[in-house]
Amino acid sequence: MTVLPYLVAGWIFLIGVYGLVTSRDLIHAVGCLAVTQSSTYVLLLAVGYRNGGTAPVFADAPTNSRVVDPVVQALTLTDIVVGATVTALLLALVVQLRKRHGTVDPDALSELKG
C-alpha cells in the first residue's frame, strides 16, 4: 500500500479549491468544483485498491480470487451521479445568470453585499 494516491487526492482537492477562490469566471468556478469533487473519486478508489486484485466480477473468475473492493466502486458511481447533477444545475444557473445579468464575472455580481 502506497501513500501516493492519498497525496494525489489531497493535491487535486487543494488545486480545485485554489481555483474556486481565485476564479474570475463562474463557468471556470463550476469546473473547479468538479475538479475538487474528482479528488473524492481518487480517494475512494485508492481506499478500495488491492495489489494484484482484479475487477469484482466472479462470472469467469474463481470465487476465491483477489478482487478490489466493490463497495467503493458503487460509492464512486453514486458520487459521480450526484456530481453530474450538481454540475449541471450550477451550469444552468450560470447560463441563466449570463442571460439576465450579462456577465459571469463574480466580481461584477455584488448585489448581495452586506
Partner: protein, 604 residues
Amino acid sequence: MDTTRLLPLVVALPLLGAAVLVATGRRLPRLVSDIVGCAFAAATAATALLVLFRAGRPGPGTYPVEWVGGWRRVGIVLVGDPLGAGLAALVSLLVVAVLVYSWRYFEEPPRRHTGSFPALILVFQAGMCGFALTGDLFNAFVSFELMGVVAYALTGFRVEDPKPLQGALAFGVVNSLGGYVTLLGVTLLYARTGELGFAQIGRRLDTDGPDGPVLAAFVLVTTGLLVKAAAVPFHFWLPDAHAVAPTPVCMLLSGVMVELGVYGVARVYWTVFSGPGGLSHPDFTRALLVLGVLTALLGAVMCWQQRHLKRLLALSTVAHTGLFLIGVAVLTPEGISGTALYVLGHAGVKAALFACAGVLLDRYATVDEHELFGRARELPAVGVLFAVGGLGLCGLPPFGSGLGKAAAEEAAGHTAGWLPALYVLVSAVTGGAVLRAGLRIFAGVGRRPRDEEEGGPETTGEEEPETRGRLGRIPVPLLAVPAALLAASLALGVIPAVGSAVGRAGALFTDTGGYRRTVLDGHAAAAPAHPPPHWQLTGILLGLLSAALAITLATLAVRRPVHTGTAALLAPVRRLQSGHIGDYVAWLIAGTALLTVLTVPGVH
C-alpha cells in the same frame, strides 16, 4: 402493519409524489396538482407521526430499525429513533404548511410548469427525511446532497431575476464543496474500519485509541455538516440564499434544513466518535463551544444591523444555530432534549415570521424596513402575528421555543456559568431586531429612518413580488398558516407530554451503547431516565428577562436615530459578506483549519 416497515415509506412517499407530479403535472390544472402535492406531503407526515408514536412509546429502549430489502450487512439502514423520527415528522408537517401557504402564493406558475414547485418541494422533503432517518454515513451524504441540489434549484426558482441566481450559485458551490469534504471524511473512515454504518464504524473505532486519520475524518465530516448548519465561518451562503429564495422556500430552509446540519453533527459525534476511539468529550465540547459562541454572537450582531427583512430573519437563524450548537456541545441528555425542543419551537416561529414577510413582499413589493415604515398599518392581523413571532423568537414563556431555550440554557449553565447570559443576550437581540422592524412597519412608531444615517452600502429589500401583481386582499392561507404555526409553537411549551417525549428522545439519543445494540443486535436496555424539559422558575424568569430586554432594545432603536459611529464600527464585519463565491470558499477552508486546530489536542 409493522411500523418498522413504514420507515422507508417516509422517504419513498414524497419521491413517488414528485414523480407523479412530474409525469402528470403539465396536464393537470393548478388546483389538482397542488392537491396531489399536499396529499403526498400529508400522507408522509402521517407516516412519520406513526413511526414517531412507535418510537416514542414508553417502555424498553428499542425503536424501529429497518434494513431496506433485508440486506443486513451492507444494505441501507433506516433508524427511527425518537429524535430522528421527530425531525422527519417536523419536516413533513412544515412541508404541508408550506404547500398550503404557497397554494395562493405563487399565483401563476409558468405555463406547462404547474407541478414543478410542489414536485421540487416533495423531493426536498424526501432528502430531509432521509437525512433524519438514515443510519449510515454514505446515505447521510447522499441525502445531504439530494436536499442540497433541490434547495439550490428552489432558491433560484425565479430564474427571471438575477439576484436569486446569484444567491443560489453561492449556496450551491459552498454547500457542494461542504458535501465533498464530508465525503472525503467518510472515505477515510471507510479506509480505517471497512464500514459505513454509524453503529458499525463506532464499534470498530472503539477497539483502538484516537489517532490522526480518525480525527482528520472527524474534522472533514463535521465541516460539511457545519456548512449545512451555517456555523460561523461557514455561514456566508445563508444570508444570500435566504434573502433571495421564494418565501415558502425560506420557511423550509430556516425552519428545518439548517437545523438538520446541527442534528447531523450531534448524530455523527454520538454514534461514531463519542467512544474511546474517537474524539474525547472535553475536546469536542471545546471545539463546538468555540464555533457555537462565535456563531451566536456574530449572527446576533449582523441580524441587528439589517434592514432587509428576510436577511434579518436569515441572520437570526444563524444566531440561533449558534445556540443550538452550544446545546449539542455540552454533551448531556438535557442539552440535547432542550435543544430539540428549542428547534421545534424555533421552526414554527421562524416559518411564521417568514410567512408574514412574504405577505409584505407581495403587497408592497419590498421587504425593506425603512421603505415600509408605517405602511403596513392597514394590516393589523399580520402585525399581531409578526409581533407574537418576535416574542416567540426571544423565548417568551410559554412558547415551545421559550421552554427549549430555558432547558438548553440550564444544561449549558452546568458546563460554563456564563452561557445562560449568552442565551438571554442573543435571543433578546434577535427578537429585538424583529420587534423593531415590526414596530416600524406595522405601527409606524418613532421617526422615519433616513437612509443617510446608516454607514456604507446596504442591502435594501426591493424585490419582485412572487404573486401575479401585488396583492390586494390577503388570501386566507397566507394568514392561517402563520397563525397555525405560532399556535403549534405555543402548544409545544404548554403540553407536558411534549416535554416528556422530547426528554426521552434526548436520553435515547445520547445512549450510544443502546443505539449500537438496537441497530446491530436488535435489542437494547432502557435508557436511563433524565428529567424532561419542564418549566422552572429560573427558566421562566430568564425567558421574561430576554423578552423584556428585546422590547426595550426595540423601543430604544425606534425612538433614537441610528448611531453612525456604531454602524461604522461594525461595517468591516458586514463587508465580509461580499457576495463573492471565492471569498466564501476561502472562509470555508479557514473554518476547516480552525476546526482542525481545535481538534488537534485530541491526538494522544
